[in-house]
Amino acid sequence: MFNNLFFVKVFKHNKFLFILFLGFTLGSLFFNYKTVETTPFFVWGMYSAKETVPQSHKIIVVKYNNSKMLCMPHTYQEPMSMMVYFTLNYYTDILQNNNKDYLQRNLESNYYIKYPFIKKFGAKLYTNPNEVANYLPWLKKYIASIVNEPVTNFDVYQCQVKYNVQQHVELLNAKKLYHY
């Protein structure tokens, strides 16, 4: 009966594969338990946290060449839309935290004390102020490449929107975050 079990089959055939698969399984269980993703031990917990419907939502809107709205309506455009919106969110987080990303803060307040050897290469692990300063010029180039036209300027707005009774999205207010 047990001979048909996958791990038994692998153990009998190839000990190296057995150790590899067992290590992968245990590693995946460990990192899921710790809820820290360490490639290739992936944590498949996305959208599992309980969510409530807020009164309003914050969205990022990008306008380029004075008035054109950057619009990537299709879900299959995700790899490039992420490149714009996810990096913008990350950039905003860094600016809001005095030009430090959260890993830098974590390293300085925790890791450097516990494991001083990390200091040797620590600065390589997070975005430095020079890279932060070069972000908006890079974003202009990237937007120009995806809209396939020269971009002279762009504005980034943080818009607060809400769903009305018909479930249509209404703009409450808009705040200009960046201009370049």
């Binding site: 996958f6 692998v10 055939h13 190839n14 698969f21 995946s28 820290v36 993703e37 360490t38 490639t39 290739p40 498949w44 917990g45 996305m46 959208y47 599992s48 309980k50 969510e51 409530t52 419907v53 939502h57 969205i59 990022i60 619009c71 309506p73 879900t75 299959y76 455009q77 995700e78 790899p79 490039m80 992420m82 490149m83 996810f86 990096t87 969110n89 990350y90 950039y91 860094i94 890993l103 290469f121 692990l125 997070y126 975005t127 890279e131 932060v132 070069n134 890079w138 180039k141 990237y142 490449s145 995806i146 818009c159 929107v161 769903y163 018909q166 479930q167 249509h168 999205v169 703009l171």
Partner: protein, 294 residues
């Protein structure tokens, strides 16, 4: 040195997988997401993932991604290697090279997009299957990958049902849809799809039923731990799941479907091969008859 055992099943699987990967690379090219198209990006995120730490420490980002010409060469190599693997299924050397190149691409894109995305996880892992010379090793690795595919969705089920209990949160589906589609609905308020979303948001019970149904599908994947008889069903479950999240959660996980090939067993592949051979000989005969008539 790099010749492997001849096996029709393995040959076809290799072809299918690399054709799929080629489509994924073309999809990423269209999406301005290949390394040279990132145009020497600046900010990046490693997070607490030690593999990304290693990537940064080895300076791969400066060597490849932040150098346009090298990044372009890298992308050409990635594409070429993938094409070679479709035609030279017995040459493991190009499979080794491809696995390394794809690993670098995976870490680079995820670092510079400032989010460790999930869709490429399947492609990252699947190429290692073809590293093994012995057919039995390949088969066992392939079977392990099948269990990984099942476990991935079962884990998602466990997270939602037992750990975070979000399945029983009545607002969950509405909150996810509203959060993820706010920008789309703001920019495209009168499209056909927008009207479908309004319908579901006005009939929240349908939305919650749909959400619960997809979670049940994830849970049902555990059938695969006990039998391979219903693999065709598991194949369909993953398709249904990712199509529904494509529309309602605005996430594009189609690249993970590469793992669905693990649900295609030897019998199914041989049947496919037999039909292809039959079609080929039929076409050949038709061509001969046609030339005789002429």
């Amino acid at each position: 040195m790099f010749k492997i055992e001849a096996s029709l099943y393995r040959k076809l699987i290799t072809k299918l997988v690399f054709v799929f990967i080629l489509i994924s690379i073309i999809f990423r090219y269209y999406n301005h997401a290949l390394l040279h198209q990132l145009l020497e990006p600046t900010i990046f995120e490693t997070g607490m993932d030690y593999t990304y730490w290693l990537y940064q420490i080895l300076n791969i980002d400066d060597l490849i991604v932040r150098n346009y010409n090298i990044a372009l060469l890298f992308d050409v190599a990635l594409f070429t290697c993938c094409v070679i693997n479709i035609f030279l299924t017995r040459q493991r050397l190009f499979i080794f090279i491809f696995s390394i190149l794809y690993g670098i691409y995976f870490l680079s894109y995820n670092s510079f997009v400032a989010h460790h995305t999930g869709p490429m996880d399947g492609i990252l892992l699947i190429t290692f299957v073809f590293w093994f010379k012995q057919y039995k090793d390949f088969k066992l690795f392939w079977e392990a990958l099948r269990y990984f595919t099942i476990s991935m969705l079962v884990a998602a089920f466990v997270w939602k049902v037992f750990i975070m209990n979000s399945l029983f949160n009545y607002e969950q589906a509405e909150a996810i849809v509203k959060n993820n589609l706010a920008l789309y609905l703001f920019q495209n308020p009168s499209t056909f799809f927008a009207n479908i979303v309004y319908f579901f948001l006005n009939n929240k019970i349908l939305l919650q039923i749909g959400y619960s149904f997809t979670i049940v599908l994830q849970g049902l994947m555990c059938i695969g731990y006990f039998t391979k008889k219903y693999d065709w069903l598991l194949f369909c479950f993953t398709i249904i799941f990712h199509v529904s999240t494509y529309f309602f959660v605005d996430v594009c996980f189609f690249e993970l479907w590469v793992l669905n090939f693990t649900f295609m067993n030897e019998a199914a592949i041989n049947k496919l091969q037999f039909k292809l051979e039959k079609l080929r000989s039929h076409l050949k005969n038709a061509k001969i008859n046609h030339s005789k008539i002429i």
